[in-house]
């Protein structure tokens, strides 16, 4: 097991270097059009002194391989450079944003687990019932609906219309995290962010449950006279859960890396919105730093998911000798 983990970690190094190389290539003059220094100052006239200062600050006057050296050693020391437009360090900006993204991701995952699993189990156990039809239909709709549209719909419904209907008594916050951050502000963004994945979780859960319920050992369990509850939760669920856990694990990695659409619609100050705004203002260091952080998070979460496989399912052997 330890050997397996070690090998997986070592495998991450070339992937990481590959990513930095691709990102760095974007800085090579001529690849992105235009003069990078002019990009920094925008429409303003540029004095030679200011140009020299900016070039020195961003090492733009060094040969490429030296620049790459600066770049990688910077990353390894946690230095992702500084924003072109804001005069702040990218590391600071992203560190500011990460807890917010994590907060939203965890809320969304909870929605996913509670609603998704329950819906999936119910619709499998009560196959072809009203609930089953409801779950199957609504999950189809949720998967098809664009996230930003759902977000705006919820804002309209719970932020504006609900306030009108109740004469101002009830509405949900539509943007930001609250000051100080509170749970009410999480409701709409978390539901929006969780929508598609919840639908998937419900569907996977349902099909896995149905498959498990049709197995011989379930019939045996039922024949033994075990109660329905024990059969479902102790025997079927445990075996049906593995693919669902995988899905949720990978999804957590994606969510931790920021949700561009949801965070933008709800003005949630997370990594996704930061990357979106940086792309819009062509603030490359933030985009590049953001991508590196995203890559790191996804790699780490994938590793954890793979390791948990090995723990959850003893049948799975990783790289051991063929038996």
């Amino acid at each position: 097991m330890a050997k397996y983990v070690l090998r997986r970690i070592l495998q991450m190094i070339p992937v990481f270097l590959g990513v930095t190389l691709i990102l760095f290539a974007l800085r090579i003059p001529g690849l992105l059009p235009g003069d990078p220094v002019q990009l920094i100052v925008g429409e303003r006239p540029l004095t030679p002194a200011l140009r020299a200062e900016i070039e020195a600050k961003h090492h733009l006057n060094e040969p490429l391989h030296i620049q790459y050296g600066y770049y990688v050693s910077g990353i390894l020391q946690g230095d992702l450079g500084s924003s072109l437009q804001k005069g702040r360090d990218v590391t600071d900006i992203l560190l500011d944003k990460f807890p917010n993204t994590a907060r939203l991701a965890i809320a969304a995952i909870l929605v996913e687990i509670v609603v998704g699993l329950l819906a999936g189990i119910i619709s499998a156990v009560k196959q072809y019932s009203f609930w089953d039809v409801l779950v199957t239909l609504s999950t189809s709709v949720l998967v098809a609906v664009p996230v930003f549209w759902l977000g705006m719909l919820l804002q309209m419904l719970f932020g504006i219309k609900m306030r009108e209907w109740t004469g101002g008594a009830f509405s949900l916050p539509m943007s930001g995290m609250g000051d100080p951050p509170d749970l009410v502000h999480l409701i709409l963004p978390a539901i929006t962010l969780a929508s598609v994945s919840t639908a998937y979780v419900a569907r996977i859960m349902r099909s896995q449950m149905l498959e498990a319920m049709g197995q011989d050992y379930i019939r045996t369990a039922k024949a033994k006279g075990l109660s329905e509850r024990v059969v479902i939760f102790k025997h079927a669920l445990k075996n049906a859960l593995i693919p669902v856990v995988t899905f949720i694990g990978i999804d957590l990695g994606m969510l931790m890396a920021g949700a561009i659409l949801t965070e933008t619609v709800f003005s949630w100050p997370g990594i996704g919105r930061e990357i979106y705004l940086a792309v819009m203002t062509r603030d490359w260091p933030i985009v590049m730093g953001g991508v590196i952080v995203v890559v790191l998070i996804v790699m780490v979460v994938n590793l954890l998911v793979d390791i948990s496989y090995a723990i959850l399912d003893p049948r799975i052997r990783y790289g051991g000798k063929a038996e």
């Binding site: 059009p33 003069d35 002019q38 006239p45 504006i160 933008t264 003005s267 979106y276």
Partner: protein, 551 residues
Amino acid sequence: MSERFRKGLALMLALALAVSMLAVTGCGGTTDEEPGDEPAADEKAGGTFKFYISEPAFIDPINLQESEGTQVGQAVFDSLVAFDPITSEIMPAAAESWSANEDATVWTFKLVEGAKFHNGREVTAADFKYAWERICTPANLSEISYHLSAVVGYDEMQAEEATELEGVKVVDDYTLEVTLAYPFADFEYVVGHPALAPVPQEEVEADPAAFADKPIGNGPFMMAEPWAHDQYIKVTRFDDYYGDAPYIDGVDYVILADQDTAFLEFQAGNLDFVPIPTGQIQAAVEQYGESPDGYTVNPGQQVSLGGEQAIYYLLVNNEQEPLDDPLVRQAMSMAIDRQDICDKVFEGTREPATGIVPPGIVGHRPDAFPYAKFDVEAAKAKLAEAGYPDGEGFPKITIEFNSGSGHEDILLLVQENLKAIGIEGEMVGSEWAQYLDKLGAGDYSIGRLGWIADYPVMDNFLYPLFKTGSGDNYSFYANAEVDALMDEARGTADGDERVALFREAEEIIGEDSPVIPMFYYKHTRVASERVNDGIYSPNGLFTFESVWLSK
């Protein structure tokens, strides 16, 4: 099965009812207004203004340039002079009076005595000198030092040969003397820019990063807490302010990523001033009422649609044949149906330009450029006069733009307009930085740019854009007579005479048509019902000094 369905449905309805009842009772307190406010002596006093902005780049004066940061900076800092929010007339601020010598090269500013920074220390002339030198020091990476380029010693500081601005002299605590390298009578307007406000050296040097997030200024409002990036900036009234105290207790600048969200928050009653999304402007005017002068907002007159001090114009490469012929440029200018473009692309939120100097600028006059009007027949006649009847023999030109910012929609219509008089144009889009490179190198036929006033004077539109060899003169216009007139204007201390000289220059430029004015920008914002006497100035800044909130 049908019974199962009924049971399920009933259960769901019951659940929904329970949830909504819970929600009504549980979350009833989301609005934070307390009805029991004690009535103040002055009913105008009090309240916090909720103002939408997007994340600023800087709020420290050292790099105050884009609209969002300037919005905050102007509340926290006072420069030497200020401008009337509607007429742009110059008014005293940190300086109570000022004067210039005969040829406008030496300026003396008398500061208000007893004015204080938010840390309690008195503001003196030395604080201006420090602030300006801070901006001019290249190592500080300020992108706005050009404001001070007229000051003696600026070039030396930029070349890193000097660490002081030689032309800025602290005569005594309340007297600042500024010597310019050349006559510049509009310099009094320049020093009104919010970036040129004084900063307290001890606070900056104690912790520059902290100062960037919580600048300490001399304005009517002080930072209540450090800038919460991407969330909010809060300022409260500064009680030791030397000028008239504002009515409101403070401003919460709410930072949102997206204008549509801001408008939703406005509709929900959580914001007091926001942009109106395109497509909803007419509806907003009907619902909230339009401000009579376009700038002042009051209950029932909440939509501000006044003109801004900014222009969108087409560049013409004056050095490229056959565009070097004024007749050709006049023809092109008359070929363009500006109103049609305003209607089709901007839903009426732009106004056809009739000159390069927008309304709201001291000295603006309507119809300043005689060829900035739509007249196809006259355009064809001009083109024939230039030797290209129906565009015969006219070479194909390029129409260049920076892609991704909606300019293509405008220029496609321009392309169509030009085609109507026989001029074929090819659309070429490039990235912003690359686009600027091309303009600078003269590698284009027709381009586009926007120009926003730094100061509300004609100089700001004419001198940089049309002076021979100026860095912003991308159309490469060169006219010795215009240069002489503008230089003379810069050396004319009397305001009216100066405007007269600039108008003379403007007339010649209009005749030569080196650029094609397209449209003036217009406000499209709406205030909430509780905003009284709010002014959204033509320069795009909201005035918090006079506004008061209904309770």
